[in-house]
Every structure is written in C-alpha cells, then in structure tokens.
C-alpha cells in the first residue's frame, strides 16, 4: 500500500471524476483539479466565495461549485479553462445544487424549498418545479439517468413526480399513502421506486416505473421506524434498517420479507468471525518503530480474533432526545451482491458484515473508537472503514487489515471514498486529504 503526500482541502470537498482520471478538491474558494495518478495540478479555478458544494458532471467535462450563502453556482469547464458560467439565484436563495444525469442541466433548490429551478447549459430554457419536499432524500435519479423522482408536498399530502430527464417532461404524478414522506430511491435497474415514510411510522412503499403501487411493507407499528435504506446492485434485494436494531431484507419477486438480521449484543454464531481491534502500546510492537522510515512501507497491525461468545459493547442512547442514537444508520451492499455491511448506532464501534448467500453474519469488526464511515470497493468485495484515528481499516473475506497513515503529525481519517477503479482510496481528514494506492498482489486484500 502506497500513500501519497497530503494535500489541503476544505469542507471535505474532494471528488474524483466519473471517468476516474481527475481529482477535484476545494480549498476555501479555489477549485484545484489534479491528475489522479501523478497528482499534478492540471487546472486551478477561483470561485467568488467559499465553496459549499462541488460536483462533477457525468461526462467529466464540467465541475459545479455552489456557494449557498451567496446564492451562486459557478460551473467550470475542464476542456476550456476560460469558459465560465455563473448562475445567480438572487434573493430567492439557494439550499442545494446538483447536476442532472446528462451533465447539461443544473437543478437548484431554493431556500425554504420553494421550488427547484432547472437551468440548462445548452439553451436558454429554464424550468421550474413547484412544491419540492424538504426531506432526507427528496430527489433521486435513476441509474441510467433517464428518469428523476421528486418528492412533493402540497395541501398536507405527499406526492411523487416522475420526470423524464431528457426534456423535463412530467411523466407521472401520484399521491403516496404516507404520513410524512422521507425519501425516494430508484432500484438499480430503474424499474422500481422505493418510497418510505419518516421515522414516526414504519412504511415502505414500492412503485413501478409507471406509477403503479406494487407493494407496501410495514414491519411494526408505533415504535420508531425506518432509518436507512439500500438497494442491492442487482435490484434483487431491498435492505431496510430500522430503529429496532434490525435490518429487514425484502425480495424483489414478492416484496415480502426474506429475512431479518438482528444485531444481538452477544455473538454466538460460529460462522461469524469477530475482528477486534486491540490497543497496542507502542513499545510492544515492532511495527510502529518503522513507520517513519520509508514512504512505501507496510505497517500491518492485525486484529485479534477473540473466541465466541463475544459481547459487543453497547451504548445506551438517551431516550428523551429526538433522533436517538439507536438503530441501523448505515447499510451498504458490496458490488457483487454477496455482502452487506451495516452499522448499528447502539454499537457505534462495530461494523457488521452479513453474507447474503447464507443470510447470516460473516464478520463483526469491532474497533476502539466509533466508526465514522465505511465504503465498499466498487470492483470487488472489500470494505474500507475509518474511525477518526490515524488508521485505515480494510476487510475482505480473506481477512482484516489495518494500516496507519504515515503522515507526520498524525492524520485523523474522518471520511473516505474509493476511486471508481477500486485501486485507490481517498482519505479525508479535517482539512487534509491523502490518497492510498492499493498495491496489486497484496494477498491479504485482493480476493
């Protein structure tokens, strides 16, 4: 594993272009575009204010920089550095800004979610979409980029509108049977739209592309409901994580519960391997003494595998607060559909990995600090996670490995994401970033 040198970034704004060639970072009001392999600066753009959000267009030709306080969006071109585009929302304000899937339209959500303005970079047309809903995930584009689902609310009722991204034609508009629609998400095959209610009611609705209600699923009443949702890449499964610390898997044929994964504090299942990170004092291990010697070293601290039954540390949440720290807050499927990684907020230091073929737990990764972020490799079943300390943890079915980021002065890994080729991981600290290149042939990591 090779680590690159450290670069500055602000606001955790760092994105790799969809074609994988460029890395764009924002440092205060500057946008820096680098080549991913050499990390040489290719372009440098200056925005009018501190950038709040940055996004690549789908064809990797343009970058959008949004400055919410000023209500401005600036678009930069990679091919033509002197091309400029500025969208000023004026007094209506700006709350969020994103690209459309064709990379030629920008959707700006105004303040107070009054409307969504669709600006076109190809012509003078401007479209307005009224009554968008301010919720957890109100807007979603289908994977092929043809359709957009938008959650709307008017007259105290929830609606979903399906637009054709080609010309923003309203394809379908239907009411949903929810109390307070919290999010919509397309299935990867683009034919099913999942819509779920807010946490006060457990309700998952599944709509077909043409607006027909396919199925409704509700696991229980009254207690707090859905916290997180994830589709499997093959659209076979829909994983629903809820506040009762369980993940329920629905199958795409009957839309009924296939199984439920329970995050029990005591692990007795012999098929699950528990990897426990153990605090090792520096004098005891030889690894630490070599860490500053070479740039490309391999400092591997292997985790302990304790014998079963194992107790997973549980943190009891404060019951009086809203949005309690309980329940499954993060779910992610691996790219081959085989594994599912979940994080239960009551056990913030553990990440559970489930095997979808056996429908049971295959590994529990217990860290010494609460897990901040985890992400699957986009090419193979390999999971990277970070806990806010200086280490990067990797899990694959072959085993578990942790690497310390060799940066002087420490590099607190707060977030990370994979490069689309799966060959490198971008680690984000508070105001720094670092690339970690996976060397090929590393037997512990490559499956």
């Amino acid at each position: 594993m090779n680590f690159s040198e450290v670069f500055k970034q602000s606001n955790q704004l760092c994105k790799v272009s969809p074609d994988g060639k460029y890395l764009a970072t924002c440092v205060q009001y500057r946008l820096v575009v680098r080549d991913v392999n050499t990390l040489q600066i290719l372009q440098l753009y200056t925005c009018l204010d501190q950038v709040a959000s940055m996004e690549w267009s789908s064809d990797s030709l343009f970058i959008l920089c949004a400055m919410y306080k000023r209500g401005l969006v600036q678009v930069w071109s990679l091919e033509q550095p002197d091309w400029h585009c500025k969208i000023d929302e004026g007094s209506i304000g700006l709350v969020s800004s994103r690209w459309s899937p064709d990379g030629r339209h920008i959707l700006n959500t105004t303040e107070f979610h009054l409307r969504v303005t669709v600006w076109s970079l190809c012509n003078k047309s401007v479209s307005y979409i009224k009554y968008p809903k301010a919720c957890q995930k109100g807007m979603d584009f289908s994977a092929d980029g043809r359709y957009m689902a938008l959650a709307e609310r008017r007259d105290c009722k929830d609606y979903i509108s399906v637009f054709v991204c080609d010309d923003w034609h309203l394809l379908r508009h239907f009411e949903t049977d929810t109390q307070d629609l919290a999010g919509v998400e397309w299935s990867p095959n683009g034919c099913v739209l999942a819509a779920w209610d807010s946490c006060l009611e457990y309700k998952m609705l599944l709509y077909s592309l043409d607006g027909r209600l396919l199925s409704t699923y509700s696991a229980y009443e009254w207690s707090l409901g859905i916290k997180s949702v994830a589709w499997s890449p093959s659209s076979q499964f829909l994983a629903i994580g809820s506040y009762d610390e369980k993940v329920r898997i629905l199958n795409h044929i009957t839309w009924k519960k296939l199984t439920e994964f329970e995050h029990h504090p005591t692990i007795t299942n012999s098929k699950a391997v528990v990897f426990k990170e153990v605090e090792k004092r520096p004098q005891m291990t030889l690894c630490f003494s070599f860490q500053f010697d070479s740039a490309s070293h391999r400092c591997l601290v292997s985790d302990e595998i304790p014998p079963l039954p194992v107790q997973v540390p549980v943190v009891k949440p404060d019951p009086d607060r809203a949005n309690p720290k309980i329940g499954i807050s993060a779910i992610a499927f691996s790219v081959d559909n085989r594994y599912l990684a979940t994080k239960n907020d009551c056990m913030p230091q553990s990440v559970w990995v489930w095997d979808m073929q056996r429908l049971g737990p295959t590994a529990v990764l217990e860290q010494t600090a609460p897990v901040r972020f985890f992400a699957w490799d986009p090419r193979r079943p390999r999971l990277a996670l970070c806990t806010g300390n200086t280490k990067l943890y990797l899990w694959s079915p072959a085993g578990c490995v942790s690497v310390k980021v060799p940066v002087e002065g420490g590099f607190q890994v707060q977030s990370l994401f994979w490069h689309c080729s799966g060959d490198s991981v971008v680690l984000l600290g508070k105001d720094q970033l670092c690339l970690c290149y996976m060397t090929k042939g590393h037997s512990a990591l490559v499956v």
């Binding site: 267009s57 789908s58 064809d59 343009f62 209500g71 678009v75 071109s77 002197d82 091309w83 400029h84 585009c85 500025k86 969208i87 000023d88 929302e89 004026g90 007094s91 209506i92 304000g93 064709d102 990379g103 030629r104 303040e111 107070f112 303005t117 600006w119 970079l121 190809c122 012509n123 003078k124 401007v126 043809r146 359709y147 054709v164 080609d166 010309d167 034609h169 394809l171 095959n189 683009g190 034919c191 946490c199 006060l200 077909s208 592309l209 043409d210 009254w222 207690s223 707090l224 019951p319 009086d320 607060r321 809203a322 949005n323 309690p324």
Partner: protein, 500 residues
C-alpha cells in the same frame, strides 16, 4: 327352719341386684357367685354335721371370727352365742359386701356408660376430624389454586406493566420526535417570515439569472427536440418499453431457474429410485417380503409415471408440477424409511445379534478401510517418488554435449529399432517396385507377341484362302465366316490388355 326366711331375704337381694349386673356381663370384674339362694341341702346333712361344723369354724377362724366352739371336757361343743355372733358378723359382712357390690355395680355402670359415651363422642369426633381434614384439604386445594391464579395474574400484570412501559416509551419517543419536528418547522417558519419581511422592505430585488459565456452542446451530441404531443407519447412508450424489457429479462431468468430446478428434481428422483430399487432386489428376510412386493409395484408404477412424465416435462402446468413434487416426496419418504430400517439393522449388528448377509460387520469394514488407507498411502508415496525423480531430472544441470546426447535417451533403443524397420520396409518397397516393373514389361511384351502371332495367323489363313482355287465360291462363305471369326478372334485377343 329359718332357712326359708334367709332364702326370701336373699331372693330379695338377688332380685334387686340381678338384672343390672346381667346386662353388663362384659365387665371384667368377676361377679360374686351370687346365685339364687336355694336351700343349702347339699352342704350339711345329718351325717356330716361335725365335719360341717369343723369346716365352718375353720372358715370363720380364717375370716377372723372367734371360734364357735368351746372345749368342754375335750369335746367340741357348739357355742351358740359365738356361732350366732359369727353369723351376725357374717351377715354384716355380707350386707357390707352387697352394699359394696351395689356400689361397685353402680360404679361400673357409671363407668361403662361413661365409656359408652366416650366411645360415642370418640367416633363422633373421629367423623368430625375426617370431615375437617377433608375440609382442610379442600381449602388447601383452593388456596393453591388461588395462589396459582394470583401468580398468573401477577405475571399478566407484569406483562401489562411492561407493555404499558413500552408504549409509554414509544409515546415519549414519538412525542420528542414530534416536538423536534415542530421546533424545526417553527424555526423555518420564523426564517421564512424574516425573509419575507426582508424582501418586502428590501428595495433592490436581486433577480436570478444565468450568465454563461456560450452555450454548450448536449452530451450525446444530438439536437434537442420541440416538445409536442409526439414527444409525450414517445416518452410513454419509452417508459413502457423499459418496463417490458425488465419484465422479459426477469421472466427469462425465472424460466431458466425453473428449468434448472426441475432438472435437479428429476435427477434427485431418479437417483432416489436408483438407490431404493437395487436394495429391494437383494435377498431379504421373510418379514420384508410383503413390503418388497409393494415397493416393486411402486417402483414399477413410478417408472411408468416417469415415462409418462417425460412427455410432460416441458409442461409447466400445475398438474405436472404437482406430479413431480408428489413423486419426489413419496420417494423421499421411502428413502427415509429405508434409512430407518438400515439404522435398526446396524444397531442390531452392533449389539452382536448376528450378521445379516447384506451387512458387513464392523471389523471387516474397518479392515477394509485400513487396507484402502494403506493402498492410498502407498500410491501417494509412489507418486511422490516419481515426482521427486522427475524434479531431479529436470533440475540437474548438464553440459551441452551430454545434454545433446542424453536428450531422448529413453527412446534411443526404440528409435534404432524403428530405423531398422524403416530400412527393411524401404528395401521391400524397392523390390516390389522392380518386380512390378518387370511384370508390366513382360505383360507388354506378351501383348506384342500375341499381336504378332495373330497377324501371322491371319496372313497364313489369307494365304490358305488365296491358295484354295476350286472351292472358292463354295467355301467363300465359310471362309468369310472363318476369316470373320479369325478377325473377331484377333480383336478379342488384341483388345484386352490386361495390366499385370
């Protein structure tokens, strides 16, 4: 005689006291032999007066009375006064005794009546005790039931309390969530109001707009189209096409999966039938003859079923599916039964109750296993040594000469042999060629000679014909025919050039 008066007195006494004592004859106090006093004719007669007197005096003396006799000149004379006194004393005694008896009898009566009372009360108390014990048991039982009831109710109460607690928690969390949402909405509302105020008071209204250097072409390079009814319908059709494609793909996958599963089921069924049928056909004990027949029939019917099923295997209708799954279930049940039988047999064998022909005993089985293991080990060793030798051979470094010489050294002998054989083969081939050539030449020569011979013959015949003058016209025909025949013959001989 005063005896009769005594009798009367006695009778009176007797009659007064008799009846009660007779009733309680069970009392242990031996009654005085207080029989009806009849005249004492048996004791004293005229003959034995002196003996009687003596006896009486002795008895009286024994009882403590003074003697009734007094000695007068050596003769014992009856002292009437002392006798009377004694008699009086006896009467007194008797009276006293009777009195005591009466008292005793009264006492006894009293006691026995007390006893009777006691017994009655005792039995009554026993009954009461029984009743009260039963009552007690009943009450205990009731208490137990009530306790169980209370326990159950406690349990229910606990559950209900937990339920209530849970619901309260839920309500609390929902309430906090609602409050949170409400606060959030209020804050947003406040912001909205502020913004509205700001906009109303603000003179400058910043308009929204886009400022771009030049418009960029579409990512797919095409021109954008006008929005018409056609585009709307096109969108609809595109959407339905996408959905249909997805359905088709899905259905195809399901069909493939279905076909695979059916195949697997068929295979399983066949294998099960296979497993079950040879076992049934081997020699069995009489007990299992009947089931054997049954299963043979069953197997036959299954085979029929199978044959008929083959034709319907492509059908996916309910009937075919049910048929298949039912037959599989039947086979599986049979297999289970068979396995159960085998288990029983195995356990019997294990207990040493005789070895069945079909089964091999544990020891034999183990021996077989050992032997096989040994064989495997030997084979492994053999392969290992071979591998080693091969490695050795490949790895030893040789110089070029020896390498050149030693390449294919194993095949050298065979190569030499082969070369020799080739040589002989070549020679033979040559010989054959030569012979063939000579034969063909000979054949050609033969042909030539024949031709010559025929020509000669023809000329000779001609000469003959020409020399014959007389019989010209007569034998012309015959000569003609002869010559024709000769010519034909010549043709026949000369034409076939048979290759030799």
């Amino acid at each position: 005689m005063p005896e009769s008066s005594f009798e009367d007195i006695n009778n009176i006494y007797v009659s007064s006291t008799m009846p009660p004592s007779r009733q309680y004859s069970q009392s242990t106090i031996p009654l005085l032999p207080f029989r009806h006093y009849i005249g004492n004719t048996e004791f004293c007669t005229e003959n034995n007066t002196s003996e009687c007197m003596l006896y009486i005096s002795q008895e009286l003396l024994a009882l403590g009375f003074p003697s009734i006799f007094f000695d007068l000149n050596g003769l014992r004379e009856l002292d009437v006064i002392s006798a009377l006194n004694s008699m009086y004393g006896l009467l007194q005694m008797h009276r006293r005794a009777v009195g005591m008896l009466a008292e005793l009898e009264v006492e006894q009566l009293r006691v026995s009546s007390d006893l009777h009372c006691q017994q009655l009360t005792n039995s009554k108390l026993k009954d009461q005790l029984e009743l009260s014990k039963k009552e007690n048991l009943r009450l205990c039982e009731r208490e137990r039931q009530l306790e169980a009831n209370t326990k159950a109710l406690h349990h229910c109460l606990k559950n209900e309390k937990e339920e209530v607690q849970k619901l309260q928690n839920v309500i609390a969390s929902r309430a906090s969530q609602y409050n949170h949402n409400l606060k959030r909405k209020e804050r947003e509302f406040g912001k909205l109001k502020e913004r509205l105020n700001q906009l109303l008071t603000d003179k400058k209204d910043k308009k929204q707009g886009m400022d771009v250097l030049n418009y960029v072409g579409r990512s797919d390079g095409k021109r954008s189209q006008w929005k018409t009814g056609k585009t709307d319908s096109r969108h609809e059709s595109d959407m339905y096409k996408a959905l249909l494609n997805e359905f088709d793909k899905h259905q195809r996958e399901l069909m493939i999966e279905n076909a695979e599963l059916k195949k697997v089921l068929q295979q399983i069924k066949q294998e099960m039938v296979g497993i079950l049928s040879p076992k049934r056909q081997s020699g069995e004990t009489q007990k299992e003859e009947k089931p054997k027949e049954f299963t043979d029939q069953q197997i036959a019917s299954d085979e029929e079923e199978e044959n008929s099923f083959k034709g319907t295997s492509e059908m996916s209708c309910e009937h075919a599916r049910e048929q298949l799954s039912n037959s599989i279930r039947q086979q599986w049940r049979k297999l289970k039964d068979h396995m159960a039988n085998l288990d029983n047999k195995a356990s019997l064998v294990h207990l040493g109750q005789g070895i069945n022909e079909e089964m091999i005993s544990k020891e034999v089985h183990q021996e077989e296993m050992e032997r096989l293991k040994l064989e495997i080990q030997q084979c492994k060793d053999f392969i290992h040594t071979q591998q080693q030798l091969l490695q050795q051979q490949l790895s030893t470094p040789w110089d070029e000469e020896t390498a050149a010489v030693l390449t294919d050294c194993y095949m050298l002998e065979e190569k030499e042999r082969l070369k020799e054989e080739w040589k002989t083969f070549e020679e033979q081939k040559k010989n054959f060629e030569m012979e063939r050539r000579t034969f063909t030449e000979a054949a050609i020569r033969l042909g030539h000679e024949r031709k010559m011979f025929e020509e000669d013959r023809a000329t000779w015949l001609k000469h003959q014909f020409l020399n014959m003058t007389f019989t010209d016209q007569m034998n012309l025909k015959t000569q003609n025919t002869l010559s024709e025949y000769a010519v034909q013959e010549q043709k026949h001989i000369s034409s076939p050039k048979t290759p030799l």
